[in-house]
């Protein structure tokens, strides 16, 4: 089963990577690269993307004639989606374990950040034993 692991980063506070010392930034980047490599080597990684900064993000809805009406994302928002992984695993517990590992990514001074990772199961096709007439 597939799970999407969404990493939300706070808009303010310790997770402002730009304010970290260079070595801590390096350690964080190395951790993330290594994390993706390990998941991939284990055959568990189904997809992953990092998102560009929220500065240029927009909220869009359709106007009266279906035209896009755009609205800036407000910088005072508490949290932003920074990126996601999709993992293909046998049990929900495995997905939670992977999420916990990502959550512990190193921050300033190498201390774990303990970020919140939202874990959501990805919808699938009909189950193999589905019998519509039963």
């Amino acid at each position: 089963m597939k799970y999407m692991l969404m990493m939300h980063t706070p808009g303010s506070g310790p997770f402002q990577i730009a304010s970290w010392p260079a070595n801590d930034i390096k350690a964080h980047i190395a951790f993330m690269m290594d994390f993706a490599k390990k998941l991939s080597a284990a055959g568990e990684l189904a997809g992953a993307e990092g998102l560009a900064g929220p500065e240029q993000a927009k909220r869009v809805r359709a106007g009266e004639h279906g035209e896009p009406i755009t609205d800036g994302v407000f910088p005072e928002a508490k949290e932003f989606l920074a990126g996601y992984w999709i993992v293909d695993v046998d049990t929900p517990e495995r997905a939670y374990a992977i999420a916990a590992e990502a959550s512990a990514a190193p921050g300033p001074g190498g201390a774990p950040l303990n970020l919140t990772i939202e874990v959501r199961q990805v919808m699938s096709g009909p189950p193999p034993d589905w019998k519509p007439d039963a």
Binding site: I17, A18, W20, P21, A22, I25, I29, G53, Q56
Partner: protein
């Protein structure tokens, strides 16, 4: 496991792909049908040649197999139409395609060239031009192209099929362009090849274990084009530019994919053979007279490649070349590079003043490159504090992960140097 084609045979196969397609197209016109048939013939070759050996006349083999596939396709289509519409007046499939195996009198070079032009048809979006060129001219499979662009194979198959429909709808069955048309359409082809190269170069620091090397692909296609159009200096200029740029590839990323700027690269890892070939091509191209934009850019790349470090780089000459380039192809990125070259010649203040003049261009106002360039010039001017602010803003604005990492790290190192001093 099935035996696989060795590299030489793979290269041969892909080098022959455009000529085979050109031959089929001249006979049967139907671009979409011919292109599918050639793709099937390539797949057949990849599975049969390792077992049976490479045939004596590999091109003839591919033409025969592709023609057979096309015949089968026409038969199947005809049968379906007959069943569905009960129309019996169609020309029998065999008569439609029963031509001599190797009709003469047509310049094979032109056939292959026309294929480049069709793939870069102005009715297509750049993404479609790129995909179609890689498949029809580069001989890559849909799956390989999909992996190179990190999109699902079904998406890439759809993009290719829509591109072929668009060519058909534009009435481009397969008219033979007049020689002067060929010349007019060449820039579009060069642009597509450069797009393929740039895509590969931008992604070259990512996870490319599974990826076709798009930079190598663009260089290969350009190399073939120089053989088809040896008289066109800009084709040579483009090939030279790509070789001279790609030569620095190993030095431009660190262990974790972060970008390393030119002035910090380990120049001993630059590919000297590629640089020599690029410089040789550039000299040949420049000897033909009026230089075009690719030759100018290649000349700038060559000046960087020749220099032992940033300080000993011939910035004066680079500044002159950017001025030439601007007069041919004015654009914000050319002006930005010119401003940096100016700073290297006349000092950071002159460069910063030039950047101030560019900031009102709406294409640059919020562009991370402007912030990054200001950061570098402010750093050279000794204003670390302002430089850091610009590097951080550039990091927020870029959409490239390796570039963001580089900008964040650079700002952090500057900050540490500031507190130490």
């Amino acid at each position: 496991m099935r035996p696989a084609l060795d590299h030489a045979a793979q290269d041969l196969l892909r080098d022959l792909a455009p000529a085979v397609l050109g031959t089929l197209l001249r006979r049967y016109r139907d671009f979409a049908g011919c292109e599918d048939a050639v793709q099937e013939a390539l797949i057949a070759a990849a599975s049969q040649w390792p077992v049976q050996g490479v045939p004596d006349r590999p091109k003839g083999w591919l033409v025969t197999v592709a023609t057979r596939r096309l015949t089968d396709q026409v038969r199947a289509d005809t049968a379906r139409r007959l069943r569905e519409q009960l129309v019996v007046s169609l020309v029998p499939a065999d008569e439609q395609i029963a031509f001599a195996a190797d009709a003469e009198g047509v310049d094979e070079r032109d056939e292959t060239l026309d294929l480049y032009f069709t793939c870069c048809h102005p009715a297509l979006s750049p993404a479609s031009q790129v995909a179609l060129t890689l498949r029809a001219v580069g001989g890559l499979t849909t799956a390989e192209i999909a992996r190179a662009f990190l999109v699902p194979e079904a998406t890439m198959a759809q993009r290719l099929s829509r591109a072929k429909q668009a060519i058909k709808a534009a009435g481009q069955g397969f008219p033979t362009p007049a020689p002067h048309d060929r010349r007019a359409r060449l820039p579009a082809v060069l642009h597509v090849i450069y797009l393929i190269f740039s895509e590969g170069y931008a992604a070259s620091s990512g996870d490319h274990v599974m990826r076709v090397e798009l930079t190598a692909e663009a260089i290969r296609v350009a190399r073939q084009l120089t053989l088809l159009l040896p008289e066109e200096a800009e084709v040579m200029g483009l090939l030279a530019l790509m070789l001279l740029t790609d030569a620095r590839r190993a030095a431009r990323t660190g262990a974790n994919g972060e970008l390393i700027p030119l002035d910090e690269q380990d120049r001993s890892t630059w590919d000297r053979a590629a640089i020599r070939e690029g410089e040789h091509l550039l000299q040949q191209a420049l000897a033909r007279g009026a230089a075009g934009p690719y030759q100018i850019q290649a000349a700038i790349a060559a000046l960087h490649d020749e220099a032992p470090d940033t300080d000993e780089t011939d910035w004066q000459q680079i500044l002159v070349l950017y001025g030439l380039l601007r007069r041919m192809n004015d654009g914000p990125m050319v002006r930005l590079s010119e401003a940096i070259a100016l700073a290297m010649v006349e000092g950071p203040a002159a460069g910063l003043a030039a950047l101030d003049g560019l900031a009102s261009d709406p294409r640059l106002t919020h562009h991370h490159r402007l912030d990054a360039a200001r950061g570098h010039l402010l750093e050279r001017a000794g204003d670390r504090h302002s430089a850091i602010a610009h590097f951080r803003r550039a990091a927020q604005r870029t959409t490239s992960t390796p570039e963001r990492h580089y900008l964040l790290l650079h700002a952090a190192r500057l900050g540490e140097a500031e507190t130490c001093s």
